[in-house]
């Protein structure tokens, strides 16, 4: 294997890893806040991608310009899902853990059916945008522009989440995460925090979806392909840790790429899973997990 090949593979892994990281970030945020694993996370991303496709086909607006719009729409969706469903799921007396899993799971199936209902089963693609199909040639190693933009946006989003954590609201989020019961004494409306948390988490995955639409196809089952990697990323990084999501995402992106290069590509996910299980043996709560 030439140096060029190695570098290309490593670069591809890094770019993809940052996207995994952003998808995982939203999931980790929600979990860290209220102990809920959102099994409809992949489907929310899928909706974001469809939103991009619809807006693009109606107005020709480049996905990059759509970022604020779609992120806001997904934020609203996250809040709506919380208020409509999750809030209720949290207040049940029995089997809270399982109820959440299966409520979000049922939601995922519903969204998948709804997507097919509205847009049909056909695969769509957003084409001929500013960056689509363009690559930068750096002496034999190619840097695809849509993925580069996606990586930069992902890093920016992480920076944004970090900035939010420094604000009043961010501190309230942290406090709620630390001690759910006590925050009411501090005058923090827990319900409101949870709703905002869901909004943020959905918004984050929405941003990932917008960037993904720049180079990936759009279909009702797209969420499922990314979902499993997202959960493993969150678990590897540690539920509730943003740093963990970032590190784990990049790690998984690289492991996947290297396994595909060294072994049969159809086994590349096994490489990721094997590493994940190995890490769990030594750190049962993931790399940076606190909960």
């Amino acid at each position: 294997m030439t140096l060029e090949t190695v570098m290309q593979v490593a670069l591809g892994g890094l770019l993809m890893g940052l996207i995994y990281a952003l998808v995982a970030a939203g999931l980790s945020l929600i979990f860290g806040l209220m102990d809920v694993v959102n099994f409809a996370h992949g489907e929310m991303m899928m909706l974001a991608m469809y939103a991009v496709f619809v807006i693009w086909s109606m107005t020709g607006l480049d996905p990059l310009l759509q970022l604020p719009i779609v992120a806001a729409v997904l934020f609203g969706l996250g809040v709506a899902v919380y208020r409509g469903m999750i809030g209720r799921a949290l207040s049940v007396q029995f089997n809270r853990g399982m109820v959440q899993i299966f409520v979000t799971f049922g939601l995922a199936i519903f969204i998948r059916g709804a997507a097919q209902f509205v847009w049909g089963g056909e695969f769509r693609a957003v084409t001929n945008t500013w960056l689509s199909d363009r690559s930068l040639n750096m002496g034999g190693v190619y840097l695809p522009l849509p993925q580069l933009a996606a990586s930069l946006v992902c890093l920016a989003a992480f920076a944004g989440l970090l900035a939010i954590s420094r604000t009043e609201f961010g501190k309230a989020l942290e406090a709620t995460r630390e001690d759910r019961e006590a925050v009411a004494l501090l005058g923090i409306d827990r319900d409101h925090i949870f709703a905002m948390g869901w909004g943020l988490g959905a918004g984050a995955v929405g941003i990932a979806g917008v960037m993904l639409a720049g180079f990936y196809y759009v279909g009702p089952n797209v969420g499922a392909s990314f979902a499993l990697i997202a959960y493993v990323t969150v678990a590897l990084g540690g539920f509730g840790s943003m740093t963990g999501a970032l590190v784990a995402g990049v790690l998984i992106g690289e492991i996947e790429a290297i396994t595909a290069a060294v072994l049969e590509p159809s086994l590349k996910q096994i490489g990721v899973f094997a590493v994940y299980l190995a890490v769990l043996l030594f750190r049962p709560r993931g790399l940076f997990g606190k909960l």
Binding site: Q8, V9, A125, G219, S225
Partner: protein, 415 residues
């Protein structure tokens, strides 16, 4: 009344009685099993449209179309009986396909089943039809193993992967001879499903027989988030011909992935599937230019098959897209089945089976570029030779066999 009035009167009565007999002929129920939800839904819904178009051709009154059962007006051999299609969703799940086929036979009283796109569902459906002694006409299952199980009630109108792949390698030999620049190396790129496995197995075998070296043998995970490493492996191998066996989403992705790293294979010769779908054309755009694919259907062979533009217009009016590799085979399958039922003059499954065995439709009576439809003792049509097509300006044009070709192939190997 005088004799003339009597004869006229009798004739009129006979006419009325005759037409009442035609109206009284029960419709013939045919079950159709396809993935209508889930991963294969796009193809399944197109198939549904194709069968509806074929049923209209058989049932409705219209100007005769130059194909078997193209005269319309129902099944003349059964007093003008109409074909009634009942659709069922397999969800690409073999268990579901089996259950639905059983339901169609026992509840809906289907006298034959047509299906089913994926070979896994074709496997279980044909097991059911064998048990219930009802014909199964495989319109588009391409796994070679399906007709090798000693089944009496299995009939496949279209080619299987061995026939398709043989066509591909015959083309490679021909174009090599014609241009003096034969392909010497191939890269196999196939997804980890039955389709990919069957396709690559035959390709490996035939490449060895043709003395071509397999410089890359890549089995990839279907519906992966990224194919960049796989593309890098293909780029490093730099084969003369890339032989992909992929469905639509992966077909789009691999072309994009190769483009991203600045690689364009000298020749792409696809095992159809995703490469023949309109969604692929839309998604891959300019990147698909020059790609070749095997096909059972030549949409541009109007001179050879004048019925093609007529049937295509009907399909386009119904589903807003042109006929392709899959939908043309599906239409053909129903027409062949209807032809058999017509010749049998009966809706009894055993009679239909006998008529299917005796099928001998010349190619000119179909919309396909085939020599004809004739089943061997395993139920396989042996006269369905495939063609090779190439993308010119976003449209597939037939380039082989050379005497059928609408355009001359663009061959960049060795340049």
């Amino acid at each position: 009344m005088d004799r003339r009035q009597f004869i006229v009167g009798a004739g009129a009565l006979a006419g009325v009685a005759g037409s009442r007999a035609a109206q009284a002929a029960d419709p013939v129920v045919i079950g159709v099993v396809y993935p209508l939800t889930g991963n294969g839904a796009a193809v399944g819904l197109d198939a549904k449209a194709a069968y509806e178009v074929a049923a209209n051709i058989i049932n409705n009154t219209h100007a005769p179309i130059g194909v078997a059962m193209g005269q319309g007006g129902g099944l003349s051999g059964l007093g003008g009986a109409r074909i009634n299609l009942v659709f069922a969703d397999s969800q690409n799940d073999p268990q579901k396909a089996r259950a639905e086929a059983e339901r169609l036979i026992t509840q809906e009283k289907a006298v034959a089943i047509v299906g089913s796109y994926t070979s896994a569902t074709g496997a279980t459906i044909s097991q059911v039809t064998e048990r219930y002694e009802v014909p199964y006409v495989s319109a588009d299952n391409s796994s070679p193993s399906l007709n090798q199980r000693g089944l009496k009630w299995f009939f496949r109108t279209g080619p299987h992967d061995e026939m398709f792949t043989k066509g591909m390698f015959d083309f490679l030999a021909d174009i090599g001879k014609k241009t003096g620049r034969p392909a010497k190396t191939v890269a196999l790129f196939y997804e980890d499903s039955i389709f990919g496995t069957d396709s690559s197995n035959v390709q490996r075998k035939l490449a060895a027989a043709a003395g071509m070296q397999v410089v890359a043998d890549i089995r990839y995970r279907a519906s992966s988030p990224s194919l960049s490493t796989e593309a890098q492996k293909l780029k490093a191998a730099n084969a003369d011909v890339l032989l992909p066996s992929s469905y639509t989403s992966d077909a789009i992705l691999i072309l994009k992935a190769m483009n991203e790293i600045g690689y364009k294979p000298k020749a792409i010769l696809a095992q159809a599937a995703g490469f023949q779908e309109s969604a692929f054309m839309q998604g891959a755009g300019a990147l698909a230019e020059g790609a070749m694919s095997r096909s059972s259907f030549a949409g541009d062979a109007e001179k050879l098959r004048p019925a093609v533009p007529i049937v295509n217009a009907l399909y386009k009016a119904h589903n807003n897209k042109d006929m392709n590799d899959n939908t043309s085979r599906e239409i053909t399958a129903l027409l062949v089945l209807a032809d058999a039922i017509n010749r049998a003059g009966s809706a009894k499954p055993e009679e239909i089976r006998k008529a299917l065995v005796a099928t001998n439709i010349p190619g000119s009576q179909t919309i396909m570029p085939w020599a004809g439809v004739k089943f061997d003792e395993t139920g396989q049509n042996t006269l369905c030779n495939p063609v090779i097509q190439q993308v010119f300006d976003g449209v597939y044009k037939t380039v082989w066999p050379f005497d059928l070709a609408a355009k001359e192939a663009v061959w960049n190997v060795g340049k």
